[in-house]
């Protein structure tokens, strides 16, 4: 494993990891497949980082740990609070996880019900729920879609609504799994603009290196369950050896 690259281009983030701190995370799937081998990672307020790596690198597995859907060995802190079974519900209101396929995310018949699901389960009052839904839809510019049926939307629209479903929970960290996959250039462009404008820390896994270059100052490279590089995007993209070894390409 070419872990050597870590030292060559590694810039430790400057902060203490006030939004997210992962220390030595290991995880094995029930069938015995080792998916994470000691992952450590820090994110700070306002950080927008890309998570890249070949198919099967463990990106999705890592993301599922960050809001407690999977439980590995190691430590995870969100906003300075350790993730444990007890405070899972609170952690989940702080970490908004958006899956790759919006059809997995949008399970209610109407857009309103879907965006309201999170706030309702946090036990907010009806007035609060409605306010949250309104502002989340506003943020993704989909207010007019409130009463639409989810299955009538285009992929690009579904993607925006999927993001709204977690924004309505007021998360302090947004985790997006391959948000641009399957979008046409226009929808992709509008997603990029949306992500640029959202004032929330985010970690975004993607195979779209052009988007990485355009949007994310920082890039984390994973391969075979390890973080093999974590640095400024410019530096990562300049390191052709690193890209080649991990099956990546310059945009």
């Amino acid at each position: 494993m070419p872990v050597s690259h870590i030292t060559s281009t590694y810039h430790a983030p400057e902060c203490e990891g006030d939004v997210l701190r992962v220390r030595d995370l290991f995880f094995t799937y029930p069938d015995g497949h080792d998916a994470l081998h000691g992952v450590s990672l820090k994110l700070c307020g306002g950080d927008k980082a890309a998570l890249v790596g070949p198919n099967g690198a463990g990106k999705s597995t890592l993301m599922l740990h960050l809001n407690g859907i999977l439980h590995g060995r190691g430590e995870i802190e969100i906003g300075g609070r350790k993730l444990t079974r007890e405070n899972l519900p609170e952690i989940r209101s702080m970490v908004g996880l958006v899956f790759q396929n919006p059809d997995d995310q949008l399970f209610s018949p109407t857009v309103f019900e879907d965006v309201a699901f999170g706030p309702l389960h946090m036990g907010l009052t009806e007035a609060d729920v409605r306010a949250r839904v309104a502002s989340a839809l506003e943020a993704v510019r989909m207010t007019a879609y409130k009463d639409r049926l989810s299955h009538h939307l285009s992929v690009g629209e579904k993607k925006r609504i999927a993001i709204a479903t977690v924004l309505s929970m007021n998360p302090s960290l947004l985790i997006l799994d391959e948000p641009s996959a399957g979008l046409d250039p226009r929808a992709r462009r509008s997603l990029i603009n949306l992500l640029r404008e959202l004032p929330i820390s985010m970690l975004v896994s993607t195979h779209d290196m052009a988007m990485v270059k355009e949007l994310f100052p920082r890039t984390v490279v994973m391969d075979e369950g390890r973080i093999v590089a974590d640095a400024l995007t410019l530096d990562i993209l300049a390191d052709e050896d690193l890209l080649l070894v991990h099956g990546l390409e310059k945009p």
């Binding site: 599922l64 809001n67 859907i69 519900p89 989940r92 209101s93 970490v95 996880l97 899956f99 396929n101 059809d103 997995d104 995310q105 949008l106 399970f107 209610s108 018949p109 109407t110 019900e113 309201a116 699901f117 999170g118 309702l120 389960h121 946090m122 009806e126 729920v129 409605r130 049926l149 989810s150 299955h151 009538h152 479903t165 977690v166 929970m169």
Partner: protein
Amino acid sequence: MHFDAFDRYHEKESFVHRLDPRVKAVITILFILSNALLPDGAWIALLFAWMFLLAANVLSSLGIFYTLKNSLIALPFALIAVTVLFSTPGKPVYSFFVFSSHFVVSDAAIVRFVSILIRSWLSVQMAILLVAVTRFPDLIHALEHLRVPVILTTIIAFLYRYLFVLVDEVYRLIRAREARSASLHGHRAGGGIFWRARVTGSMTGQLFLRSYERSDRVYNAMISRGYAGHLYTLNPHEMKPGDYFTLAFSIALIFILQLIGRL
């Protein structure tokens, strides 16, 4: 691909569209029950029932014959009603032999047969009207309010949501099979029936696995938004005076209809 053909809802601005879904569901059920209670040969009452339906069509601004047009394909089961013709005693009108069995059609049988067909046909039309003027999610809410167990209504809501996703997948699978269902000149194409059934089974298995795995991902999406075994929903519906009035008025009409049927 986009498969919307399952939507029966007709977007229109009308008094009936705006009614509370509970009211619409209850009136529909009562109407169908009332049909079931009408005696055979109560032609006048059946005519009134049809007028009730036509009025509902007009009030929904769907066009007076909307449900009539849409009901014609929905009666394939009428075939079975044919057996009624041979099963009701009365004055013989016609008789014949098939395989040495004697079949007799009586006058009462004909009255019964026609009554069943008309009743059934009116009921189907009412059901068509219900889904044409009520969005399905609202209908599910109505069922919840009418005390259908939440777990069932929720399964139905999921069914409705994922039907569109999975039916799209089915269509793509069928297209993939069709695209490769080729033949060559001089060869008998198509394979045997067992092979075809096996391919169909494999497609079904394939669809099952994908659905099963999707349900895992959906569950993940739900727990990451705070789901812990209990579902909460906002009640989007409120009965207004107009709803109560319409309900009462319709019940009265249906009652009158029953009386007419008995006179």
